[in-house]
């Protein structure tokens, strides 16, 4: 093992491993971008990997490695041994683009990974440092790929025509010549499938859920956080327990009760149920925050003659606005994304929520791009909220995301 921990061994090994990773990534990216067949080539990857890995400690400039790798990829590619092998119909431009991409993806990271590595024997620290850098690079690539690809596929599929999808499922390039016709699936969803109404319904229900949840859980959380009474610990324990009740077990009796009372197929019924699924989470998150607030300010308010409710309204709430924002966002997200209850309790297309509407699109009669367009419509608002208010959202997730 010790004899293998040599810069001249580790460099090429890391180079080959990284080249295999990058070649696969470039092949997938190029396939998705052009719709043509690209596949990683073993011989080319090994050759370039060994070369770049061996050259890195000598050539300390990253751009030099990039040029080296790109040129080698191009030459080997033309010889039919490229690290990214393309189908015959691929144009020269695309081959050059693939080689350049591979060069950049191989040269810069490898030079960063092997920076400061001695050519001879390595200490344990140096060796592990290289391994960690390799894993880090791999991690970034891996996680970005697995997150981006599904969302990319979702958006691009929704912009394709049925014909183009059937012809080549790999081709995600957008035909800009279609102009506004690109958004045909969206237009049809809004015009023929009433998605405008579903959006409104989902929005109204989610906002109502947030409002009712806060209205109920703020006093409850305050009581648990501030007031002393018998059964307080037992109560906060059981709140956690409610988290763990499987929704499907509760949904079955609710379905029965709603069928018998005629509340099924009514949005009122949903508004009755949704807040209760979020109240325990919200109460748990809020009481944690309330505990962190100084009790002295509230006691001063009590001394000045405020009632408990006035204390909550005038002192506690203004102090906990950030927590309220986090809880609201989190509850909004749960209500917006809720699927099971909407699916079980709503049959009437005029009363669907957005998630129920998207579920309706999953049939063999509705083309695939409509389903994906529906998915995009359901995802976009929550993503916009998430990106705009990421700080609050992440805090809400960390505090309450035991649920999900």
């Amino acid at each position: 093992m010790g004899s293998l921990r040599q810069g001249r061994v580790v460099g090429p090994v890391v180079g080959v491993l990284w080249l295999l990773v990058v070649a696969t990534a470039v092949a997938v990216a190029m396939s998705f971008a052009t719709g043509a067949g690209f596949r990683p080539g073993l011989v080319g990857s090994v050759l370039i990997g060994v070369g770049v890995g061996a050259a890195a400690p000598v050539l300390r400039k990253g751009w030099a490695l990039v040029l080296l790798a790109a040129a080698a990829a191009l030459v080997l590619g033309l010889a039919g041994l490229g690290p990214v092998r393309a189908d015959p119909e691929v144009t020269l431009m695309q081959r050059v683009a693939a080689a350049a991409l591979l060069g950049a993806g191989a040269g810069l990271p490898i030079s960063a990974m092997l920076r400061g590595m001695p050519a001879g024997a390595m200490t344990r620290h140096e060796f592990e440092e290289v391994v960690i850098r390799f894993l880090t690079g791999f991690g970034y690539l891996f996680f970005t790929a697995i997150v981006v690809i599904p969302f990319y596929v979702m958006v691009m599929t929704s912009l394709k025509s049925q014909q183009a999808l059937m012809q080549n499922p790999l081709d995600f390039s957008i035909d800009l010549g279609r102009g506004t016709d690109l958004f045909r699936s969206y237009r049809e969803l809004f015009q023929e499938f009433h998605f405008g109404r579903y959006l409104t319904t989902s929005f109204v229900i989610s906002v109502l859920t947030v409002a009712i949840t806060l209205l109920v859980s703020v006093p409850g959380a305050y009581a648990v956080a501030r007031l002393r009474f018998r059964g307080r610990t037992a109560l906060s324990r059981s709140i956690l327990l409610i988290y763990m009740v499987p929704m499907i077990v509760v949904a079955l009796p609710i379905y029965i009760a709603f069928s018998m009372t005629g509340l099924r197929n009514s949005l009122f019924g949903l508004v009755l149920i949704y807040p209760v699924t979020t109240i325990p989470v919200s109460l748990y998150m809020l009481q944690g925050y309330f505990r962190g607030l100084p009790a002295e300010v509230e006691e001063a308010g009590l001394m000045d003659g405020l009632t408990r409710l006035q204390v909550i309204w005038k002192i506690t709430l203004p102090l906990s606005l950030p927590a309220l924002a986090s809880v609201s966002l989190y509850v909004f997200m749960i209500a917006w994304n809720e699927f099971l209850l909407a699916f079980m309790l709503l049959d009437d297309p005029s009363k669907f929520t957005l998630t129920r509407g998207v579920a309706m699109l999953n049939s063999s009669e509705v083309p695939r791009q409509h389903l994906m367009a529906g998915a995009v419509i359901a995802t976009l608002p929550i993503m916009a909220l998430f990106l705009g208010l990421e700080k609050f959202m992440t805090r809400g997730l960390t505090a309450g995301a035991v649920k999900g």
Partner: protein, 420 residues
């Protein structure tokens, strides 16, 4: 000066505080009791009931009235026909009565059916009333009454079918009667199917939880470094968790479609497979895919928790380790990991319970086919696909009992671990 003695028991102030507390908590307690606890208890009741999806509506007597014949002048004859049926095929209805107000000028010429009577003057319109007693399930019969129509009927001029006959009856609802059965449970534990479902659930839960935890740990270690664009990446890596499950599940189904999915096309172009692979339709691949989806969707959650914990570890410890010459892996193994053990185990337990309870994901991806049916999906399948609510409830009871075991374990553990 006497020694100060702390007060014992609860004084009036304390009692008042408790009253206020329960007052503030009342909406929460009430709503949770109505929507969560009541259904939970009722699931036990339902699981002992022989009830199908069609039995949800209480059986009722249904009646239709028809006038036969074409009366045109006073003295013409007609037939009043009542058709009475039981809406249920197998449930008896007791105390069935029918009452109807007849138009004026209608005189009975033939016999009245058994148990029926007419009261009131013919000129003003008579009250027709029948008492049929008990009718069997699937009962369906007609009663014909021959009548002649007098002048008053034509003076009145209305449509005799306008006045709806009123029927009443008292039927047992299967949910509220005293009939209980053990058949739901007997059938559940009888076949090998249940144990297979249980096994799938365990495999799904264990691998899904551990997978999400390990991948999340890896992601958290990645983002524990400081670099530009870290915030963007952190936001990006949360996408799978934040997006609606329905959107991402359908995207996966589209992506891995056996005939027109991009993943298959990619594999074929790369020469890795000959024909399309049915990712969500073959055993055991479907189960693996469902677990991969679970890991993909929930790694952000563990990553978020672990990252928060990682960042709260004191940097001094690492400096001390550096002084002692610890290598990067040693620092991870001997410093970070022990510090993370608490949050990891809390996450493991919570995620274990939640993965066990998961329904949406599998339901949307495979619908429980190809060996991916877990207990929660089985609840739905039994109750709605096979239309046997009692059997579904029996599975739900099993799920609930498993949950109880987990939560006892969880609270034992969490009282020791101040991780949450």
């Amino acid at each position: 000066m006497t020694e100060a003695i702390p007060p014992k028991g609860t004084g009036p102030l304390g009692r008042r505080e408790a009253r206020v507390a329960w007052g503030l908590l009342f909406p929460t307690v009430f709503s949770v009791a109505m929507v969560i606890l009541l259904p939970l208890l009722s699931i036990f009741w339902i699981s002992f009931k022989p009830i199908g999806l069609a039995d949800l509506r209480a059986p009722v007597p249904v009646v239709r009235e028809q006038i036969r014949g074409r009366p045109e002048a006073p003295g013409d004859i007609a037939t009043v026909e009542y058709r009475l049926r039981n809406s249920s095929r197998d449930t008896v209805i007791d105390a069935v009565t029918l009452s109807d107000r007849w138009p004026p000028g209608v005189t009975v010429t033939g016999d009245l059916p058994d148990g029926c009577s007419l009261t009131g003057p013919v000129e003003a319109g008579q009250e027709f009333f029948c008492n049929f007693g008990t009718i069997e399930g699937g009962y369906n019969d007609r009663f014909k009454i021959d009548v002649t129509l007098g002048q008053a009927f034509f003076d009145w001029g209305g449509d005799p079918e306008d006045s709806e006959p009123v029927v009443t009856g008292r039927a047992d609802h299967v949910l509220t009667n005293g009939e209980f059965t053990l058949e739901n449970f007997a059938r559940l534990f009888d076949g090998s199917e249940f144990w297979q479902v249980f096994g799938v659930t365990v495999i799904y839960t264990v691998f899904g939880t551990i997978g999400a935890l390990v991948v999340g740990l890896f992601a958290a270690l990645l983002l524990n470094n400081d670099f530009r664009g870290k915030g963007v990446l952190r936001g990006l890596y949360l996408f799978p968790y934040v997006a609606p499950v329905i959107a991402v599940a359908f995207t996966w189904v589209t992506l891995f479609d056996p005939t027109s999915g991009s993943a298959n096309e990619l594999l074929i172009r790369m020469g890795l497979t000959e024909g399309g692979i049915n990712f969500f339709g073959t055993r055991p691949l479907a189960l693996i895919m469902v677990i991969v989806f679970e890991v993909w969707r929930y790694f952000p959650l563990s990553f978020l928790f672990i990252l928060a914990r990682l960042q709260s570890i004191d940097a001094d410890m690492y400096e001390a380790a550096d002084m002692d010459g610890a290598s990067p892996f040693q620092k991870f193994w001997y410093l970070s990991l022990p510090m993370l053990l608490g949050i990891l185990s809390v996450l493991f337990l919570l995620r274990f319970i939640w993965t066990f309870n998961k329904f949406d994901d599998i339901f949307l991806l495979t619908g429980g086919s190809a060996g991916t049916r877990t207990l929660t999906v089985d609840v739905y399948e039994q109750a709605f696909a096979i239309s046997n609510i009692g059997a579904g409830a029996a599975v739900a009871v099993v799920v609930f009992c498993c949950l109880l075991v987990f939560s006892i374990f969880f609270f034992r553990f969490i009282s020791r671990e101040e991780g949450l």
